[in-house]
């Protein structure tokens, strides 16, 4: 039997939230990176691109925020 070297105590929801941020993190990186790239190629389209980016951010960040809500719901 493997002896238990250390144990952590606390709320497992914190780990769940950590995992829930991974996907949206990648998504935000792709979205904002592509927007910056587009603005660099076509600076005059900045206004339209920024608005579209914020709409996209809103749809992506809800995934991470659901992680917070789930943590509160099941605590």
């Amino acid at each position: 039997m493997i002896p238990l070297l250390a144990e952590i105590s606390g709320n497992i929801n914190a780990i769940a939230f950590g995992i829930a941020t991974l996907g949206p993190g990648i998504g935000l990186g792709l979205l904002i990176g592509k927007t910056v790239e587009s603005i660099a190629r076509q600076p005059e389209a900045q206004g339209a691109l920024t608005s579209q980016m914020y709409i996209g951010i809103a749809f992506i960040e809800i995934l991470a925020l659901l992680g917070i809500i789930v943590g509160f719901l099941f605590s």
Binding site: A6, I8, A48, S51, I55, E61, L65, S75
Partner: protein, 265 residues
Amino acid sequence: MTSFPILAAREGFHVPGAESFYREPFIDLHVFGLNLGINRTVVVLFLASLLTLGVLALGFRNPKLVPRGIQNVAEFIVDFVRDKVIMPTMGKKGLPYLPFLTTLFLFVLFCNWFGVIPGLNFSATSRIGIPLALSICTWFVFVIAGIRTHGGFGYLKAALVPSGVPVPILLLLVPIEFLTVFILRPLTLTIRLTANMIAGHMLLTMFFLGTAYLLERGSTAAFGVGSLIMGTAFIGFEIFVGALQAFIFAILTAVYIQSSLQEAH
């Protein structure tokens, strides 16, 4: 086995949880079994409503060609909503919704910013009721806009039935579209705003309670200073997040209204 000494030393610290969002009312008021007590959330709500009303009413009470004083602020906000929220999403045909979107933006902005006002330190939007009420308003606005554009059945068809899809796939697609358009839209609007404000409030609570706790114990005072610096930095971040969330709430409302106004997709 035993936990680490550093964890054991932390046991005296009371971690703030969901209970920091429940405030006892100052004034108890029960009308027909409804709890209408005045607590901190309600005070913040009244102040935010008064500020919204004040900025818009005082700014445009006696409009001049060359704006002075508070008219500058009011015109800046209306211009911002017109140029950054309505024009990129709806174009000119969205201008009738300018008053609704301006009021919505301003009210959410003030509700959010009360989270960093010393003495109140509580954003009304971190309780789910207020974003929910605003989202239901939004729901009615975009459904009524769709019905006025397409007619009752026409709107359902435009919203739920994509053109050029074979019938067997429609059986799968129409329930999903219904769920997305009529149920998930207001729900995600609500959760996005609430969860952002809850997270911000928890972050600030955590850092400042941590500062007080660490400074009290002498040997950990250096960490307390670090915690204080981080907390102060996050106040600035919260101001940014409050403005960003108000903007996102307004722009998503504009996107939803636009999807009701456009022809069948």
